[in-house]
């Protein structure tokens, strides 16, 4: 069948001008026909070019023909509906501007009731977008009735969609309509289905933001309290986030009476998922309630979360340790950390669950900046060292990745004695991903430790990775060498690593010989012309006689790669003959890459 999509390069204006010329209509006709093609990819393609179709049809036909068709197109695949929902959010000008924007409501309304969450969410997003393009009158005449219809729909899909639309209408309607909207929202908060209550709970915060303070205090607080004690865990946990938003809206003196009892209850909820949510939102919560409540309520609550019986909760709380401490009021920060938080942190260092330890390890180093040099050396250093020796590689890795912030506070020498054994151990870990991660931190560590320390302790590790049995490690090790040379300079390279790299060219294992070539590829540029020509090039030439074809064609590739570093005389007199010889190699691949190098280096 003829299903090719023709996209016209002509400007649209000419297309519309020549309305009776089939030439200009043809591409649009194809697009329209493909709206109902059997191939979903073609339908998707047409939907993504919906604006082209609308432009060709003109605003009137778009309103009277295209939109009614799209309103009924709800049987399509999710990806098509998703694209349609997105397109309609940008369609205002194509239906005739803000005056006619309400024509977009029917198709979006039908999309807001489909079962697929992503489609519904996108439809709601577009509805929210075009709500701003409605005049206040149109908002009340067209938009608000749609919200009401969705809110009182038979199926919960439509009611969940309604939840996201209240906050965009509310600020722009009359007080009578406002009262109705508040009533609708109240009804949805006590809907029979948990889906709708979840949607309402997740939009409670944003709805509260657009309400007048008196209604926040009267309506929102009671809805929040009810949702936070819902029988469904999944509803209660969403109420936590709403609580944070509501707390930011209320004056300090009302927080204690209106929000805190519910939040305290959430922090001690029977369900670990709700407590997890509290832990996860703890920093936002802390900012929302201010320093006084933080000192009196949140500190003990945080201690409890750090000691929670469920590991998921402890891990979430452990993740927040640094942020929580940072945001403590300055006057009592150190006391609170030393007397209340640090004891819990100490326990977490030897937690039974590795995710908890790992979460802690990712933030614990940050405490040193907050506590200063003396406290760090006395109290934190033992914890870092314990974590560096942890049996779980992830924990050790998280510590190593954050070394820089401790370096700033106490200097790396303090740590290096204990640090080194841990690094060596990770460098030899049985899991190649762990080794890979360590390699990636090597340039950072090298920079922190200095060249002397590096040569003495770490250089041999870096060389050992070049002969790792996993290719990804050898590749990363090559790249690591280049970064080290960038840090320590060409002279250092010539003295320490280049001899070792070139030595591998005589290795009996052809994989190691190839590693030499890969290293040369990576190093030639940072080492510069002199080292490359004097030391590397002869080795490459020698390898062009290698008995393994893979090595020979990598020689060709290497020559192509390092060519730009060499001077033209050397290219013509030395490189060219070698490549020519390789170009007449009996192996097809060697020939191919040699010819490619010749043409790229313009040696033909």
């Amino acid at each position: 069948s003829c299903s090719c999509t023709v996209v016209s390069k002509q400007p649209l204006a000419s297309k519309m001008a020549g309305a009776d010329s089939d030439d200009s209509l043809y591409p649009i006709a194809v697009l329209i026909d493909e709206l109902r093609n059997e191939d979903v990819q073609l339908r998707l393609n047409s939907i993504k070019k919906l604006s082209t179709i609308a432009l060709a049809l003109g605003v009137e036909r778009t309103r009277t023909e295209l939109l009614p068709f799209l309103t009924d197109t709800i049987y399509d695949e999710d990806e098509v509906l998703l694209a349609l929902a997105e397109q309609l959010g940008n369609f205002t000008m194509l239906v005739g501007g803000p005056e006619y924007v309400h024509c977009l409501l029917p198709p979006l309304e039908s999309l807001a009731t489909v079962e697929e969450t992503v489609v519904r969410d996108k439809a709601v997003e577009s509805l929210r977008k075009i709500s701003h393009e409605h005049s206040p009158v149109d908002l009340e005449v067209h938009f608000e009735p749609l919200v009401k219809r969705l809110a009182s729909g038979d199926w919960f899909t439509s009611r969940t969609s309604a939840c996201g639309l209240f906050s965009v209408c509310y600020p722009r309607v009359s007080s009578t309509v406002k009262a109705e909207i508040r009533q609708h929202f109240r009804t949805l908060c006590s809907d029979d289905t948990p889906m709708v209550r979840r949607a309402a709970a997740s939009k409670l915060g944003e709805f509260a933001k657009v309400l007048e303070l008196e209604y926040v205090k009267s309506d929102i607080i009671s809805l929040f309290t009810a949702l936070a004690s819902d029988e469904q865990d999944s509803v209660r946990l969403l109420a936590v986030e709403a609580g944070v938003s509501i707390a930011t809206l209320l004056p300090q003196e009302d927080l204690e009476a209106l929000v805190m009892p519910t939040l305290r209850q959430a922090a001690e909820d029977k369900s670990w998922r709700v407590r997890y949510m509290v832990a996860d939102k703890f920093s936002d919560l802390q900012k929302a309630v201010g320093p006084e409540i933080t000192k009196n309520d949140l500190v003990p609550a945080f201690q409890n979360l750090l000691k929670d019986c469920e590991a998921e909760v402890r891990a979430a709380a452990a993740n927040k340790v640094k942020e929580f401490c940072e945001n403590l009021p300055e006057d009592s920060r150190e006391t609170i950390i030393m007397t209340h938080i640090l004891p819990c942190v100490k326990e977490l260092v030897s937690d039974t669950n590795q995710h908890v330890k790992s979460a802690l390890a990712s933030v614990i180093m940050g405490l040193s900046t907050i506590l200063g040099k003396d406290n760090t050396i006395e109290h934190l250093l033992p914890l870092f060292l314990a974590q560096l020796k942890d049996e779980c590689p992830e924990v050790r890795l998280n510590i190593i990745s954050n070394l820089d912030c401790v370096n700033e506070v106490i200097g790396i020498r303090q740590l290096s004695q204990s640090l080194l054994p841990a690094i060596v151990e990770l460098a030899e870990d049985a899991k190649w991903r762990v080794r890979l991660a360590i390699i990636e931190y090597m340039p950072l560590l090298a920079g922190q430790l200095g060249v002397e320390f590096f040569d003495e302790k770490l250089n041999s590790l870096c060389m050992a990775w070049l002969v790792d049995h996993v290719y990804a490690i050898r590749e990363a090790a090559t790249c690591n060498l280049m970064k080290l040379v960038e840090k320590f300079g060409a002279e250092w390279a010539q003295n320490t690593i280049v001899p070792k790299v070139l030595g591998m060219a005589n290795d009996p294992n052809y994989l190691h010989r190839m590693t030499t070539l890969f290293c040369i590829n990576a190093l030639s540029e940072v080492c510069g012309q002199e080292i490359t020509t004097k030391h590397m090039l002869p080795v490459v030439f020698k390898m062009s006689n290698d008995q393994v074809a893979n090595v020979r064609f990598n020689v060709a590739k290497s020559l192509q790669k390092i060519g730009p570093v060499l001077d033209s005389n050397c290219l013509q007199t030395e490189v060219k003959p070698v490549l020519e010889k390789l170009a007449s190699d009996q192996d097809m691949d060697v020939k191919y890459f040699a010819q490619e190098a010749i043409s790229v280096l313009s040696l033909a």
Binding site: C2, A19, D20, D22, L25, Y26, I28, A29, V30, I32, D33, L35, R36, A56, L57, R61, E65, L66, P68, F69, D72, T73, Y75, T113, V114, E115, T117, W155, F156, T157, S158, T193, P194, M195, R198, E231, Q232, D233, S234, D269, K270, S271, W272, R273, C309, E310, A311, E312
Partner: protein
């Protein structure tokens, strides 16, 4: 009382029989799951061939309380195909192990179906309009020459004959090492569990790439394995509560609020074994083949090989009610072991108002127990005796040789004809059950 007063007559009557009535049954046609939707408007069956057939209740019969429960085919589709696991050299059968309906969320209906390894979410939807009008071709597909194009035409939706489509929406695969025996949708409407022999996983309906392991009873050393999970279900109202039954006859209730991994149960329902009846078969026949919460959420029913037990969730030590389904088989366990019947997994179900329970037996018998009246009946699923609308006669199985017309001897029972799968309409007095390849629908005459 109507009907029940007459000896040997029940108030139940045959409404419909579906499926070919033929002695020669293809393996693929054997029904392996029966499930009413939450409204009772739809009834789904799954079979060993991986197909799902959905029946819809006729509108007129739904509105007339006296009318017959008339269900007609609404949609038929292939849910699972046979597969081969190349890594483990294992064939994966297409047989549908369970079907569970989701609460209705919009005009379409959704169900979960599972075979041994993979759970799928299906959407069953209606379409009664189709777009018409092309620019570059006729409706019948003939091409129109582009030169005839003078104006653009936007397609228009026109009414058409009702079409029912079943489309796969999600495939939840690769999470089970062992065979899935249960799936159950949570009352939060967004998660469900799937249970295999050793593990239970929790899924979010929207995500197919991850599931959370909530129970894992796999011992570090498989030699130490003494117990497997046989059935599992979520509480109908409390989103945090689920139970699972085991091959040792115990049921554990877990609270997902307490921790992410529910290896520690919060309640253990187990009846101490009666030493006087202890035998080689004790453990086999105590294995839980099905567990179902009552609609109220207060009780839970378990089915083992010989009995049906109802437990009050507040009392773990013993069931509040125990019903003998076919106690007369106790003396025949040896031969039932030899022909493998002892491993049959009978399902059970509650009446919509929880006042009665039903489960299947052999010889195409099924049993109903009236909990308040403490009355029970044995009925037979048969198309031979009784035209639609006629009362079913009640049976009695007796050990002796001299018997009345409504009695049958244990030795005369046909063990190849068994009713494993049963479902009760959630509101009405309608039950559906599967014999080998036939679906029977029975209806109770009103008082």
């Amino acid at each position: 009382m109507f009907g029940a007063a007459a000896v040997g007559q029940s108030r139940w009557c045959l409404s419909q029989v579906k499926g070919a009535i033929d002695d020669d049954v293809a393996e693929a046609d054997i029904i392996s799951a029966v499930e009413f939707s939450h409204s009772g408007e739809l009834l789904a069956t799954g079979d060993r061939g991986g197909r799902i057939v959905i029946f819809q209740q006729e509108q007129e019969s739904k509105n007339l309380p006296q009318g017959r429960a008339e269900y007609n085919v609404y949609s038929t589709f292939q849910s699972h195909e046979p597969e081969f696991d190349y890594l483990k050299s294992l064939e994966i059968e297409e047989k549908i192990n369970k079907i569970r309906w989701l609460p209705q969320k919009n005009a379409a209906h959704f169900l979960l179906s599972t075979n041994d390894k993979t759970v799928k979410l299906w959407k069953i939807s209606e379409r009664d309009k189709r777009p018409e009008g092309y620019n570059l071709k006729e409706e019948d597909g003939r091409y129109r020459h582009p030169s005839s194009l003078t104006t653009l035409r936007v397609p228009v939706f026109q009414p058409m004959d009702l079409m029912v489509e079943a489309s796969p929406r999600r495939v939840y695969a690769n999470a089970h090492t062992y065979h899935i025996n249960s799936i159950s949708v949570n009352s939060d409407n967004e998660t469900y569990l799937s249970a295999d022999d050793l593990r239970i996983n929790l899924w979010h309906l929207d995500f197919t790439d991850r599931s959370f392991n909530i129970v894992d009873i796999k011992p570090a050393n498989m030699e130490e394995l003494t117990e497997v999970i046989t059935a599992s279900e979520f509480h109908p109202l409390q989103c945090n509560t689920f139970v699972y039954g085991s091959s040792k006859g115990s049921v554990r209730l877990c609270d997902m609020r307490a921790s992410a991994l529910c290896d520690q149960h919060s309640k253990l329902f187990e009846e101490p074994e009666d030493p006087s009846t202890r035998s080689f078969f004790s453990e086999i026949i105590s294995s839980i083949s099905d567990v179902k919460f009552s609609h109220s959420g207060r009780y839970m029913m378990t089915r083992d090989y010989l009995t049906l037990k109802i437990w009050d969730l507040h009392m773990e030590s013993r069931p509040v009610e125990t019903y003998q389904v076919h106690g007369y088989l106790r003396s025949k366990l040896c031969s039932l072991y030899e022909n493998d019947c002892i491993f049959d997994k009978f399902e059970c179900c509650w009446r919509g108002d929880d006042s009665e329970v039903m489960t299947g037996s052999y010889n195409n018998f099924f049993r109903m127990f009236d909990r308040d009246a403490q009355r029970d009946v044995t009925l037979e699923a048969s198309w031979e005796n009784g035209s639609p609308g006629c009362s079913l006669k009640t049976w009695r199985v007796c050990a002796g040789s001299r018997r009345k017309r409504s009695e049958i001897g244990v030795d005369c029972l046909d063990f190849s004809r068994k009713i494993l799968y049963t479902s009760w309409h959630p509101q009405d007095s309608i039950v559906a059950l599967a014999t080998v390849n036939n679906l029977y629908i029975f209806q109770e005459k009103p008082n």
